[in-house]
Every structure is written in C-alpha cells, then in structure tokens.
Symmetry: C2
Subunit: 215 residues, 2 copies
DNA sequence: TAGATTGTTAATCGATTAACAATC
DNA sequence: TAGATTGTTAATCGATTAACAATC
C-alpha cells in the first residue's frame, strides 16, 4: 500500500479478499452503531464475522492508525475510513427485476438503504402488477428497462425472478448497460465477460455448513 | 489427502476453502444437469463460478481421477463423487423462522429441495398465521419450537424475521439444540461458540462488487 | 491422427496466526 | 500504575496460476 504523508491514499487496487473483508467490517460497524455502541475492539468484530482479530487489525493498519491501544476503534470514525477506502460514500441506484414475494421482501428491507443503495426502479412482466408500488417505487414493464436504466444511471440489477425467467431478464439488463447482476435464482447465467454475476444460493452455503457440522 | 487403493477416502477434514468450492461445483452441476447437459469441462465450471479452471481440476484430482482427458467430466458421476466427499447424500431437515414475505419466498423456492434439504417446520409469532400452510408446511408458534425441533431432528434454523426479532429467535433456536443458524436479518447475533452463524447480506456483497466496478 | 482437456508440477502470492512490544 | 488492546513482525500454510506432458 503506497500512502502519502497526509494519509491521502495513492490507491492501489485492493485485493478481492481485503475488499470483501472491509465490506463485512462495514456491516458490523453499521449494526453496532445502531445498537448504540461507540467503540469496538478487533476481537468483537472477530466474534461477529469469524475473521481472525489479527487479520482485522492488519487489514485496517494497512491504511492508517485508526485504533487506540488499550481502547479499540471509534465506530463512527472507522465507518468513515472504510467508506473512504471502499469509495462507497455516494448514492447508488439499483434496479430490481421481479416483484414477487422475494422481490417485495428485498424492496421492503432496510438492508440496502442503510448503505446508501437506492432501489430506483422495479420491473415485472405481469401486467396486473404494473403501476403498483413496492417499497415506494412503481412497478414498470420489462420493456421499459432500457430507457429507465439509462435515465436513472443504474449499473446494478438484482434478479428476483423464477429460474426460467432469469436468463431473459439478465439479457435485458445487459442490453441496458448494467454491469453488475445479483442473481437470486438458481439459474446459471451466460453474460459477457465485462458483466459481474453474483449468484446467491442459500442451499450451497448450507451444504458447506453441514459438512463442518457433521465432521 | 490420504486415500486407500480402492478410492475409499480415509478422510481428513476438508479445508474451509475446498469445502466452499466443492459446494459451488455441486450447484453448477445440478443446474447443468437440469439443462440437459451430460458432460462439462473445468473451463465451463470456471466460467460460471469465477473460480480458476486449474484450481477446479486440482480440487477434484485430490480425490480421484474423475475426468476424461480431451472430454471433460461426466456430470452425473461427478455429482455423486462430490456428494460423497461433502457427505450430503442424506436428507436434512431445517426450520424456517418467520412466515413473512421473505419466509414465504424461501419456503416456496425449490432451491433447498433440489439439494435434499427439507423445510420440516415453519414458525411465526403472529397468531393470525398459525395453522396456515406455506410450502406445504403448517405454521407453528415459536413456543413449540423446542419440541418440534427435537422431534424432527432439526439442526439448522433459517431466520427470516425483522432485525428486532432476530436475537430472540436465535436464542430460541439455540435452546432447541440447533447448531447452524442462517441469519437473513441485518442484526448481529450473539450465540454460543458451538453454534455457526451465517449472515447473508446482499448490501455487503454489493458494496464490494461496486468497488471493483468503480476502480 | 488431430484437437481437446485432464492431471500435475513448480513457482508465486496472499491469508492466517501467534506472539509481543508499544501505548492508551 | 495495571490492564487492555493496538500495530507489527515473523513464520507457516493454503490459494492461485501458468505451463505442459499425458491421454482421451
């Protein structure tokens, strides 16, 4: 890590591992702050994330001396520092595809808003749903995706559709210039190589958790 | 990896990384099979998982010679081998806490059933919901959790409740002997050290995806 | 045979951890 | 001061990758 004397980071790109861990610290800090805590130790973060405390201190100390020995880290200031490192201080607009039960659950959860992420558009192919609002956002038809995505500067799409509709929805997102797709269906998606697909599958995680439970 | 000459694995415990990757291969193979494919190459798995093809071959070859040079892997037989390694051939019963939109979405998804995981009980504290069925399973009150969990041999609980109800529900699961908790709320959970908590947060993954998009 | 893809080697890099002086 | 916790070092281990012979 190359740093100037003023703390202005001449940023090299973070490794995937570091960025993933910093994101998780961000989540713990956000929740701890909501619980009214003002300080937190690397050990407490470790307990919540299952990431080793030494690793946490090491990750953070690569960017500056954010903690106080004998005391821990100030939650507010550490939140600010990590947001700076991850460049997540702006507002980000995302599109949700699928206004079924999962889509509604996602739209009504505070989980995105809490991190400055706004669901700026919701799409569904069911004509009966068009115009209805979920999470305060009216449901549009998939035919409008292209126009709306460009107009609202959307680069992230969340797929909450059945497996058999997933590839079609992904194609529509890609056509509209979306570069990051979160896939909550089981389907495997074919996309151009400049599009990042994140597939979330609770069953996969569960099989893996069971392995360690059973052995 | 210590192996006998007959392929009978004198199993050492898998590392966390290997078990996580094998679980993901399982998911890709399951989907590829549904799409009617019979064979798959390490490169194809790599395209769907973003895991390096060499790493995939290396992970698999640690357990046997499952592939055919010039051809690839037979999907059915590789599925069987990985299931053997991960010991996920049995049926597993899990409990779902929370019968709201997210709970319903989870219960009605084939994602668990596909991997031999059965939602054997659903709990909710809303008296109006008791007895109603979701995913074919009647909703019980949280007061019955202890009895039902023991009776149905449930060691995994999935929390689909609001953040402010999550700790209480987690306590109830722990009291009922559950050792693996999937937390779909934002709440940080305090649990005994022999209980594995997996917290899933799409916003965290998104922040991290955005970092790599923006840099 | 020719082309494709595995299984494996060798080299590198990042993650992980224990330990402990520094210091709040 | 005494206790706690950071920041950092040093050592180890697993992940990652390119390359390629083996072989289907």
């Amino acid at each position: 890590m190359v740093r100037g004397s003023e703390g202005a980071t001449l940023a090299e790109r973070l490794t995937v591992g570091v960025a993933a861990r910093l994101s998780r610290y961000l989540q713990v800090l956000t929740q701890a702050k909501k619980m009214g805590k003002e300080r937190i130790s690397s050990q407490e973060i470790a307990d919540y994330t299952n990431i080793n405390a030494t690793q946490i201190r090491r990750d953070l100390s690569g960017f500056g001396k954010f903690g106080k020995r004998g005391v821990g880290y100030n939650i507010d200031s550490l939140l600010g520092e990590i947001r700076k490192i991850l460049r997540t201080q702006g507002q980000h607009n995302i599109a949700l595809i699928g206004a079924g039960r999962l889509g509604e659950a996602i739209a009504s959860s505070p989980i995105f808003a809490e991190h400055g992420i706004t669901i700026a558009a919701v799409f569904d192919n069911d004509p009966a749903k068009l115009g209805r609002k979920i999470g305060g956002v009216p449901i549009s038809s998939l035919g409008e995706l292209d126009e709306i995505a460009r107009e609202r500067n959307i680069i992230v799409g969340v797929l909450a559709v059945p497996a058999d509709a997933a590839q079609g929805a992904a194609d529509a997102l890609v056509a509209a210039g979306v570069k990051i797709v979160f896939n909550y269906s089981q389907a495997l998606l074919d996309t151009p190589s400049d599009v990042q697909v994140h597939t979330s599958n609770p069953a996969v995680e569960l099989l893996y958790a069971l392995y360690f439970h059973l052995t």
